[in-house]
Symmetry: C2
Subunit: 468 residues, 2 copies
């Protein structure tokens, strides 16, 4: 599958390379294409694992109650939500924690008897762990729009018998949460002890409390936001752009053929940059280069010849992250869910523009008394702003339904995707809205946005303290 | 050129879209492809402007003195350097400022009689301006490896009669500066009054003073670095990856056909994110959406339907920046020059690994007396570190040749590509190396890395003060 240059220069006395240049990092795309194409004719079925779901490892709730959609006048008549649980539901059904995932995670947050592989939050869930299954019944769902058992663009549209692809409706974070609450209804859970989430899951966690203030006891929002910023939209747009430019994407209709694996790899490389931080890479990789094959050691007089493909360990790391991800996740799910994140905005005018029935709770604008004395509990280390900018006031007005819900907000100073400024914005807005039970922590450290996956001591400790 | 989906689903009662989805942001690539392809057969010649250079607007120095190359045992036997000048060379030839460019700029830093269009630093160069042409003779070159008149991958290899493409040698920042000094020799300029540069130009500015301490009077380094960090390598690698994955890139051999315009557009979108800052976008775009065509106003009951293509102004801005750039610059030049930036590292071990003849000036390691008292001038607001990390000591040891050159370092707190930490590192290393004439400024503001192009008051003022 090596592509040969269309134009082969006449080779006369080339001084810097004696042969046609080769680029292994580019050839890898063609090699992968060939391998995937051949998998379609093999007995083991096509390669993308999401095309071979394993329903034995999770439970599927099939809803036949039509789901209201934020951006469409019509409803989703039926849908599936894949979920897993840990712990035991109390007789009073009052010990439920609903755990929301980040963009690309499955419901497999921790190992289970039917799926003993490690979950994405393995160290946070279990007996004696921050989400303590001795006390709590934890439910984690694959998000609506995802590709790990819940209905999404790769699901079969019952009306056509083929995958929705880009006929799938545009989703909002609120739609995802509504689907989760249909599951809670099905399970007979009237009230959550807590709604917990990180990254996009933090958006869902806030949205859950907003849609159903009476059904959510506590909210945990880790490295999230209540209003996506242009910077984060830009970083997600760059990912969608490279993905949609892959000819294999084919306007979203690729389910009977080879998916846009190259676009997915490139998108994941960009995403990985936003998930980690510079200081971590300084310490972990520095300027180290990949080892050379032993037969290509540099001469004593000429330094190692750099390549246009990866040389530095940071480059091979990004390459590896992209390669690992590019067939694990459905491209259209990535596009739809990342778009939903961009659209998330809990300022009052934005919520009203969505014409959500729940927005009636906001009442007339002047009913929100932001002028009364700010609550002071928990805020000595981060007092409310004395002169809030207009968007912060608008956010406080939008968050009024959360005024009475104890909320933990946690941010990480090295996070470039969901910055601490955004965490402080959520905290300020909640306090301005009258919530005097907001706990706020900022973490240092070098892990950036991914801290929520890594720092069980600090992140886990904050959750444990807040939930107890 | 509209690509039709390979798989057209049976259209039965689709609820969310009544027709085959269309994606204008994806179709734009095919439309551009078609337009460029047709330009090859038109009388006006192919579209990429760099394929139609205008030698009347700049001067070309053709060197026949072979150029030593850092990463190759052979030399570049001949090469061109395009340059422009402003002001008048003094009889003593002692008023020369060599201005180095960022990655993609031409020699056209300011308007000239033969090219009256505005230059990329128009407000900084001229009578009474920061680079005051009443006093100084300013020379700006297109960088070696570029595509605006200087020899680069798109130039004809005299040995083959076709463009070098990826047979072009890997370049270092030092190679670029050596080519500039051949131009200075040709012009009879023995000593520069100052070497001035921003971004990659700041790397060249430091490299010039390092290669020729006796020929450089002062150094200005704005938003640069003396040692590229893994974060900046990651951001440039992401750009090269999307570019090289464009099938049109064709291993670099595209000069007789349509260039990788889609990859260039996507790469520029990523670059644009690194050039500006979040706070600027908060103020400039916020969460504003692009205006809808008047015939697609949302209904009173359903909100505006978002698109998978750009909705937010920040997205249309990135799209526009990419579209404007994608045919203005040569893809291989971008790859080679961005790689040279990654490779730049002035720590002592890295310099020694390059086996540069000039590295002899570094002498034995223990000759560098970093232990003597730190100089104190200009450092009250930023004292030297008391316990420097190993890489900083290594950088100080590498920068010893700059110990006696007055140097202005200027950084911007909102710069995410060349962070202020990197500026402080250069300052600390220079002072540890014994340089007591280092001036250091940090600017606030919201423009990020692009501040050097925009903030004539503060950036220009610092340069003016330092040069006078």
């Amino acid at each position: 599958m090596l592509r040969l240059p269309r134009l082969v220069p006449r080779l006369r006395g080339l001084r810097y390379s004696s042969s046609i240049p080769r680029f292994p990092c580019v050839e890898a795309h063609a090699t992968r294409e060939s391998r995937i194409a051949s998998s379609f004719s093999s007995s083991s079925g096509p390669e993308p694992p999401y095309a071979r779901p394993n329903p034995a490892s999770y439970t599927v709730f099939n809803s036949t109650t039509p789901l209201r959609l934020t951006y469409h006048s019509s409803f989703l008549p039926t849908f599936d939500i894949a979920y897993e649980t840990w712990g035991t539901l109390s007789p009073a059904r009052d010990n439920v924690i609903l755990l929301h995932t980040g963009l690309s995670a499955s419901s497999h947050a921790a190992s289970t008897p039917v799926n003993p592989t490690e979950g994405w939050w393995e160290k946070f869930i279990g007996p004696g762990k921050p989400l303590d299954t001795n006390n709590f019944f934890v439910i984690c769902t694959n998000v609506l729009g995802g590709c790990y058992g819940s209905t999404g663009p790769s699901s079969i549209d019952p009306d056509t018998g083929v995958p929705y692809a880009t006929h799938f409706p545009i989703l909002s974070i609120f739609d995802m949460v509504r689907a989760q609450f249909q599951l809670l209804d099905h399970l007979g859970v009237d009230k959550l002890y807590a709604s917990v989430g990180s990254s996009m899951g933090a958006m869902q966690s806030l949205a859950a409390g907003w849609l159903h203030p009476e059904r959510v006891g506590k909210i945990v929002s880790i490295s999230g936001t209540a209003r996506s910023t242009p910077s984060s939209v830009a970083m997600r747009y760059a990912q969608r752009s490279v993905l949609m430019a892959d000819p294999n994407w084919n306007n979203g209709f690729y389910y009977d053929t080879v998916p846009p694996h190259t676009g997915m790899k490139l998108a994941r490389q960009i995403a990985t940059i936003t998930y980690r931080s510079g200081p971590e890479w300084d310490a972990r990789f520095g300027r180290q280069m990949r080892p050379l094959p032993t037969d290509t050691a540099p001469s004593p007089t000429v330094p190692r010849l750099p390549a246009l493909c990866p040389d530095f360990l940071i480059e091979t790391y990004l390459d590896h992250q992209g390669e690992q991800f590019c067939l694990k996740y459905d491209a259209n799910s990535l596009i739809y869910i990342s778009k939903a994140m961009d659209l998330f905005d809990m300022t009052r005018p934005a919520l009203q523009a969505l014409r959500l029935p729940e927005a009636a709770i906001l009442g007339p604008e002047d009913a929100v008394d932001l002028a009364r004395p700010h609550p002071t509990s928990h805020s000595k280390s981060h007092p409310p702003p004395t002169n809030p900018p207009p968007h912060l006031t608008a956010l406080a007005q939008g968050l009024v339904p959360l005024a009475h819900t104890p909320t933990l907000v946690l941010g990480v100073q090295s996070d470039i995707l969901f910055t601490v400024e955004q965490q402080r914005e959520v905290v300020d807005a909640l306090r301005m809205a009258g919530n005097d039970r907001v706990v706020y922590y900022e973490l240092g450290g070098v892990w950036g946005h991914d801290t929520f996956l890594l720092d069980v001591l600090n992140v886990g400790g904050a959750i444990r303290g807040f939930l107890s």
